[in-house]
Symmetry: C2
Subunit: 290 residues, 2 copies
């Protein structure tokens, strides 16, 4: 008996099959945020499942766990489950992509998962199995530590300097990243970008931080400190010790070294785990109803 995990995210989808902690196959498909594209998400899920079942026998599959971006807000689990059941007689469960990351990062045990990519959210799992959520309120009034947050801090820093008659070292970074020639044009351009493209400017801020731009470093550091504060809050509310497992997922939290070093400093006792790749492996820690 093997299990299939599907990590259905905003930009791409990964399905993996596991048997006794060993990955049997991996397949990729297109994007799968159900809030943005319900039909496309379902289609892509059926495609990756067909690819996996092309290599492994359906009768040997003990369960399929699908973590879908946007499902906590938009719903649509029932339709996905029904679609899978029309083709395959296998137990299926749908959770949010954050819940799948929690399973993958904490291996079913207590601790905290902090996900910081375009947006951010922090989840704690108590020893009892109950969960506590901190953040994850979206770009308008949350997403601390996310790429969106880093870029927002960068523009705020540039604007504050100009309000004071000064020019911040972050200004040339943002002017170049927006392919403009003046800070006012950079601001105007930023308002033509959607949430994802705006957050994408974080790459330029991170690169500048890497090469010694102190203003860019301050933006990344402040974002990481904000996320660390939410992790502390989640640990406290879940009644977990500071020496807990804290798993980090998402492009910012898992890949940016300066960001990680700030988390390391702010959470000196935690067992930090940087998750790479998909969280499909979380299926191994999920209990399918028998």
């Amino acid at each position: 008996m093997y299990l299939i995990g599907i990590d259905s995210g905003g930009t791409h989808m990964v399905a993996e099959a596991y048997e006794e902690r060993k990955r049997l196959v991996q397949e990729n498909s297109g994007p799968g945020n159900i809030a943005l594209d319900p039909a496309g998400t379902q289609r892509n899920i059926m495609t990756v499942l067909a690819q996996v079942f092309n290599q492994l026998p359906v009768a040997q599959c003990g369960g399929i766990l699908i973590g879908i971006a946007g499902v906590a807000m938009a719903g649509g689990q029932e339709e996905i489950i029904a679609a899978v059941h029309r083709q395959y007689a296998v137990p299926v469960a749908v959770v949010s992509d954050a819940d799948l990351a929690l399973l993958n990062g904490l291996h079913g045990g207590p601790g905290v998962i902090a996900i910081a990519g375009t947006g951010s959210i922090v989840l704690a799992q108590k020893a009892t199995g109950d969960r506590v959520r901190v953040g994850g309120w979206g770009w308008r009034f949350g997403d601390e530590g996310s790429a969106y947050d880093i870029v927002r801090r960068a523009f705020t820093m540039m604007a504050a300097a100009r309000d004071d008659g000064q020019v911040s070292p972050i200004e040339p970074v943002l002017v170049a990243a927006t392919q403009t020639s003046h800070y006012r044009a950079a601001v105007a351009r930023s308002y033509q970008l959607d949430r994802g493209a705006f957050a994408g400017l974080a790459r330029a801020v991170a690169d500048a931080a890497q090469t010694g731009n102190t203003a860019a470093q301050a933006c990344v550091t402040a974002a990481a400190e904000a996320l660390a504060a939410q992790i502390h809050q989640a640990l406290r509310r879940a009644g977990l010790p500071n020496a807990s497992v804290v798993a980090l997922a998402g492009s910012v939290a898992a890949k940016n070294d300066l960001f990680f070093s700030v988390l390391r400093r702010q959470l000196p006792d935690a067992e930090l785990r940087r998750l790479q790749g998909s969280n499909a492996g979380g299926v191994q820690y999920y209990h399918f109803p028998q």
Copy 2:
């Protein structure tokens, strides 16, 4: 000789004709934000001008000053001036709606104008005539003291309480204002609202503050304090004394009594002027090239 001022704003447009501080006529037309609708803005300007010239002789008009929302970012002044000149041989100038408010609020003298409606901006006019700008960076990283800012603070307050396992008194206000039945649904709904509709929820926060909701009062107070800080900064950078004229325009700054009382307390020496109605009267303080 009389002068015509046109205040071309996001929701409506007002044209007024003045002669020696006396208003001769007033006409209204549709919206006129040139960034949102250049063709409609031009059409509405031509309509209100035709209405004024239906009552007053063109030959007696000494100049037309048009303050247009969005023109600082989007441009398009030349097209408007050309369109007016094709029909009328009268001097025409186009400025931003904020510049028109500054003329109307400061009567051509030194001081500060703070505009807080859906968005916000602070402008100071030095004794030399030079200007200093503070804020006005838009909803993503600015607009302190605006309706958008008040609503953002309200949602942030609700989210922070929930992150702490608490329920803020602002929560029922936001749940009711979004016509939902749960804070998660209120958050989801807020992300379906565009900038203007989101800012429009400030009315509900202001009403709750009025009837004693302490959390709502804290949101309005914090927004007003943020705007007061920008006004202080503008006075300082312009080299103006604390006892300067500070004109207040926009639905929040000019109409909300709690907001105004906070500004009053933060700026005890200033001569505060609350501007009501359109700023078309600013034309009286504009110097048309002879």
